[in-house]
Amino acid sequence: MSTTIFEKSSQGRRGYNISKNDVNIELKDVLPANLVRKEDAKLPQSSELDVMRHYIELSSKNHFIEKGFYPLGSCTMKYNPKINEVVARQSGIANLHPLQPEETVQGALQIMHELQNDLAEISGMANVTLQPVAGAQGEFVGLKIISAYHQAKGNHHKKVIIMPDSAHGTNPASCSLAGFDVKELKSNSQGKVDVEELRKMVDENTAGFMLTNPNTLGLFENKIEEIAEIIHAVDGLMYMDGANFNALLGIVQPGKIGFDVMHYNLHKTFSTPHGGGGPGSGAVGVVEHLTKFLPVPMISKNDNGYFLDYSHEKTSIGKVHTYYGNFGINVRAYVYIKMLGAEGIRSVGENAVINANYLQAKLKDYYNISHADQYCMHEFVADGTIQKKKYGVSTLDIAKRLLDKGYHAPTIYFPLIISEAIMIEPTETESKQTLDKFISAMIEIAHEIETDPESLHHAPFNTPVRRVDDVRAVKQLNVRFPIEK
């Protein structure tokens, strides 16, 4: 553990060099004494060198894509091309104010317009909003659109969203936020939507069905046509959680297989960086008849150029962001899509699927994979049930041991319907060599478990810190450093 920046502080040290105040006005003349803060905020006092050393030191304690493989299922930790960063950090992108006159931001608006269109094309949707800043906010917007659709028809009773029990946590949480009730549908033995059960569950209160496709087991929901029919039959809408859209790129267009609304995770599928937990971008696409509900403003084009389009304000669900969403992030996705083109996009989808199947094929003799009888899409869910039962070694232990070997752990204990789940997503940017080494590491661990299960409980051993006690973190809550002076 590094000492905190607060402990490195020294009274009077300076890390800033700002201009001298050259207007002749005293603070006391413009801020009455009763409004003056009584005691300073005790921010640390450091030199620029102190600050650089401190945060560079911290940076060295992270795993990150450019350090090593990051097979985090559901998260699509693909490589973030460097050109994205360079382009997005240009002054002409970074230093635009959202209220500049439109004629001064034509370039920015064009980028947004083209990105809206490209996302629509790739997904087979009619229109796209770039406003939501994360997947979960995309879900919220999508659900608001579903709500607006039903409201517009006066179907106020349509309050139920159905989703499989394998759904990501944000799905039910977003439903709550959007004022929907959630019904969970048990997945069938193949890990997919149980169509007959769905048929039973659906009724006139059904507002829509929320599905991740490929689902969170990495399997394509091949009964999608039937599912959509069932939902549409009660005038429900089909929502696709696009977190797994990488698998479908150039192969399947969600808008053409029955989905009415979907969100994209640009920070997954379209190579914008995760930033240690954001900022991402959760754009939302809809079919034609839902376009009028999209948030304001949309970016449109007329003879005078590009503009912020509020023309559908009356039907729109309104705004979910102070301005236009994470523009800086959207620019990165724009660059990525432009560099790939149609063939590149398809190639991403294909190689993501091949990489995942290769791993599944090579690991299935060592770990249980409930659905290894099927080809997976971009990811698959192995599990540690054998290891748990035979040797008392949990998936958590396996995950921690992987850290020792230079890998980030897969997503674990998700989806909830697979016990001891180990969800592995390689992405297309990893090479066969990397996959082969990862396979060896997984096999090694399987052997270690057989020979010395006990030691696994104490992994990791070579990481910047040893296994972290997160129970203590809750019980003895310490969420801020106690600064003394």
Binding site: Q106, H321, S431, V465
Partner: protein, 446 residues
Amino acid sequence: MPYISTTEQERQEMLREIGVSSFKELIANIPEKFVMKDKLNLEPAFSEQQISRKVFQLTNTNKCTQASDSYLGAGVYDHFIPAAVDTIVSRPEFYTAYTPYQAEVSQGTLQFIYEYQTMICELTGMEIANASMYDGASAAAEAILMAIRSTRKNKALIASTINPNFKNVIERYTEGLGIELEFINSVNGVMDIKDLEAKVNDDIACVLVQSPNFFGNIEDMFATEKLTHQTKKGLFIASTDPIALAITNSPAEYNADIVIGEGQALGNNINYGGPLFGFFATKLAMARTMPGRLVGETLDEAGNKAYSLTLQAREQHIRRVKATSNICSNQSLCTLAATVYMALMGREGIKEVATQSITKAHYLAQEITKIEGFELAYPQQTFFKEFVVKTPIPAEEIIEKALNHNIYAGVDMKIFGYDNQLMIAVTEKKTKADLDRFLAVLKEVI
């Protein structure tokens, strides 16, 4: 194909190992008619050089604020950002990492968040701050939802002097949940305390007031607090500007229960309005009803200090329908910029930024009112770095003409319903010479 590491030969090898002869077999499961026959209708692939060039040309048509003199604010502010901030933020160690779920290999991210939480606590005077919300607007909405949750009441009073975009987003986040929003009138550019007094009662979950408010004016937070806390359980939510906090009353001084705001001003570029980030702080007693991620200090197996995510039981991945929020990815990297910024500025620097912003804003305001036809819209109020002036001609015209001088004169308040009003933001970046030149242009264009 760019960014695909597998070579054609390796691809064939892998297909063989999987046991199929072609990619098609892998997706045989997808109904034939759903598999695309045609190529996507996208522009031909750009090379790295082509896309750089295209965007360079597009953005050259953008007149960015670096190349101009901008007085635009309205929640997004152009404070100076030291070069060291970007140097840190652009390290792949930080920006290509995922959410720090695996604590042992994420101490870098976890520790800076812990430091960020601490700094936000210092600025706000609160006891606990989360790892960020999407923006100030959604933070405001989530604060209201939290108040509703923890008081089990369903009415929120909101000062109508808050940022209108916050208002929009709050409405989006609260509609359909049986929540009632009531707005407190404004008078002279601030909330009408009398109206608050009239509307406040034991049914309310909270009162939300922004100070400095949308017009830049400082609200009477002490009076608000008194009225709010006279109710049964009613919570006082303060929305504020982190730079203003350096020199104006801390929310702890006026006993706010929840403090939120837009954090962009702390070391983040304006980025055409996004990414932004919302900060969110409250009292320790309410920790378990908070939305958003939290990092806590703990120990590792060897007994050394370490950090990890904590109180996750509030969150969507565990609590699902009952989570305190649906937020998952937040605006982490923006808070890294904020953390580095605050570390560089430190105790003294941040006060200097605030002091220069307020004094320069007042210099400009004072001089503008000397120009025939201009007057302060709210001369009775104390403002921080932003203020509204009444203009002798439509603000739109002033903006247009000033643009010929490469000046963004400010926000046309017409879009918020006020004719002939211009809202002007001033940060420490302005020099007296900039301000004097702006004044000369204003004189000229009217």
